[in-house]
């Protein structure tokens, strides 16, 4: 039994907002199955009492003072925008309210 099905890959692609073609799905699903089998090895490591590590040095409380620094100009902010209008980013219609 594969560790991940084509349907699951299609679902993940929707979650990740990638409009995969059928061909891609056909190609990707077996590859991901292989990769997941490989990475699944981590579960063989007995590590129940082991704390997780997220960074090399255990830093804490890295904070900055509540001070203002210069912003980008609106022109800079919008410089990469695919479309802009009224000094705002113009985006296609949004289907659902957040």
């Amino acid at each position: 039994m594969p560790s991940i099905t084509r349907e699951e890959v299609a679902h993940l692609a929707r979650l990740a907002r990638i409009e995969l073609s059928d061909d891609e799905l056909d190609h990707l699903a077996p590859q991901l199955d292989q990769i997941i089998t490989l990475v699944g090895q981590v579960s063989q490591v007995a590590a129940d009492d082991i704390p997780p590590t997220s960074h090399a040095l255990p830093l804490t409380n890295v904070m900055r003072a509540d001070e203002n620094v210069p912003c980008l100009t609106p022109e800079q902010a919008l410089s990469g925008a695919p479309a802009a209008e009224e000094q705002r980013f113009r985006v296609p219609r949004i289907l659902e309210e957040d």
């Binding site: 409009e19 981590v42 490591v45 082991i50 590590t53 289907l95």
Partner: protein, 501 residues
């Protein structure tokens, strides 16, 4: 004057200090070299001729005015296209960012500019640094100057190829699982991954936030150290930046004394799957270090075998989230905005069109690994494996000062060889990944050519967190001993590239 492009960064700095060459001359020489060979090598995605010459001119002006300049002022450099430079196209090797000009400088670029280092342009890379060959670049593969039919390594193949092709004496790379060290090994150059947090990630387009580390690429150990010193150090813009003095890397590179240094050979990084020519050069280098007075022992790091699976959970997980920002709303490629499609659809179409196969593979893998029901078994467990690997390192460092291994199991492979076999591709990084997971410093130094294919082999050194200086101690010792044997650094053995005018 002999060819300026053959000089090391330290030599070029000396020529400028003594007034024998200007930065403009040096920069122009490298721009000419790029024009002559980059058609074949394809190390650069963008060459900033005007910007580089303007920077060079400014440095020359300051020098003429008697201003105090930093050691590398006026020396040209190639910048991996994953770091932002204000007003200069930055793509991270992806179609989705084609044409994007960042409105800000990364911290590394700020420091390069402050040091007067001249940025020649942006170098090719695997898309979003996902890959080990540059074949995943949306803008074509970079070719290995030692053999143009071979890959130069990746993801920073462009940076390493640029220095190996004498298009620049220095380059910046970024290393998430070996992306500085593996291309260094494949191109016969020096590649250093500083301690995680030792160099700032601000302005580095994130692949895996907890692993990414910018670092220097050069043809010599000293050059790498000089560049390391110029870019390293605490940055308040990066919360994971380490607020400690930069290790004395330049001093270490100048001394290169390994007498009494305890070196551990990692038992698990060798044997099956390793090319004989790679192992042969590696062991000779170890013997050479023994002769120079180092104490060599074998050490075991039993959890390193789980590094690869843990890495391929952590990286895709973080990447799937980091790359979510590429949604066609604020910058980058937008596809399908025909007035009827919704934002949701336009995002999905744009990501489909803008991302390459490997990026999609990893985003989907990461999305899976973070999904509810899988998190504990995958991401959570991988972070625990990270602890075990860090403990393996800590235990080893009780015994020895540095660990060593081959940098890669094989030499550079042929273009196209592994492109559709992700697992074979991933295994390239077996030796380099543990140091990313544990965050310690590591580097690859050239140690000869493999007998089978005559291609460069990298000697991998792993030093404890914030002991980056030890890398340079070993690298410098090895380099001078080998140079004595060879009559120069390994790069002098590289074949001449055909020059087109």
């Amino acid at each position: 004057m002999s060819d300026l492009t053959r000089k090391t960064a330290a030599e070029l700095a000396e020529l400028m200090t003594s007034g024998q060459a200007s930065s403009v001359e040096i920069t122009q020489a490298h721009l000419d070299r790029i024009a002559a060979v980059d058609g074949d090598v394809h190390a650069f995605l963008h060459v900033d001729t005007e910007g580089a010459l303007a920077q060079a001119k400014a440095v020359d002006g300051k020098r003429a005015a008697g201003e105090q300049l930093s050691p590398l002022a006026g020396v040209p450099l190639a910048l991996k296209d994953v770091l932002t430079q204000e007003g200069v196209p930055t793509t991270a090797g992806s179609k989705i960012l084609e044409g994007w000009k960042p409105p800000y400088d990364s911290t590394v670029v700020k420091r390069l500019k402050a040091a007067g280092i001249v940025i020649l342009g942006k170098t090719n890379m695997d898309e979003f640094a996902m890959g080990s060959s540059t074949e995943n670049s949306a803008y074509g593969t970079t070719h290995n100057p030692w053999d143009l039919n071979r890959i130069p390594g990746g993801s920073g193949g462009g940076s390493s190829a640029a220095i190996s092709a004498y298009e620049a004496p220095l380059a910046i790379g970024t290393d998430t699982g070996g992306s500085i060290r593996q291309p260094g090994a494949f191109t016969g150059t020096v590649g250093v991954k500083p301690t995680y947090g030792g160099t700032s990630r601000y302005g580095l387009i994130a692949l895996a936030s907890s692993l990414d580390t910018p670092g220097p690429c050069a043809r010599t150990t000293l050059d790498a150290a000089l560049l390391h010193e110029a870019i390293a150090g605490y940055d308040p813009m990066d919360s994971t930046s380490i607020n400690q003095p930069v290790p004395a890397v330049v001093e270490a590179a100048r001394n290169g004394d390994v007498a009494g240094l305890r070196i551990g050979v990692v038992k698990e990084l060798g044997g099956e799957g390793y090319q004989p020519g790679v192992e042969a050069r590696f062991h000779e280098a170890v013997e050479l270090l023994t002769k120079l007075g180092a104490e060599v022992v074998e050490v075991s790091c039993p959890h390193f075998e789980y590094a690869l699976p843990a890495y391929y959970l952590i990286l895709p997980s973080e990447a799937s989230s980091n790359l979510a920002k590429f949604d066609a709303m604020r910058y980058g490629l937008r596809v399908g905005d025909d007035g009827t499609n919704s934002a949701e659809t336009v995002t999905s179409l744009s990501r489909e069109a803008g991302f390459g196969a490997e990026v999609k593979r990893r985003i989907i893998l990461g999305t899976h690994a973070l999904s509810s029901g899988y998190y504990d078994a995958y991401y959570g467990q991988a972070q625990k494996v990270r602890t075990l690997i860090a403990r393996d390192f800590a235990k080893a460092y009780e015994q020895v000062d540095v660990l060593v291994s081959p940098a890669t199991p094989t030499t550079a492979f042929a273009i196209g060889d592994r492109i559709d076999d992700p697992i074979a591709m991933y295994k390239n990084d077996l030796c380099t990944i543990p140091s990313n997971l544990a965050g310690n410093a590591a580097a690859s130094f050239p140690c000869g050519l493999a007998d089978e294919d005559g291609l460069p082999v990298g000697f991998h050194v792993m030093a404890p967190v914030m002991r980056d200086d030890l890398l340079y101690t070993v690298g410098a010792a090895l380099e001078s001993a080998l140079a004595e044997q060879w009559g120069g650094v390994l790069m002098t053995k590289a074949p001449e590239l055909e020059v087109t005018r």
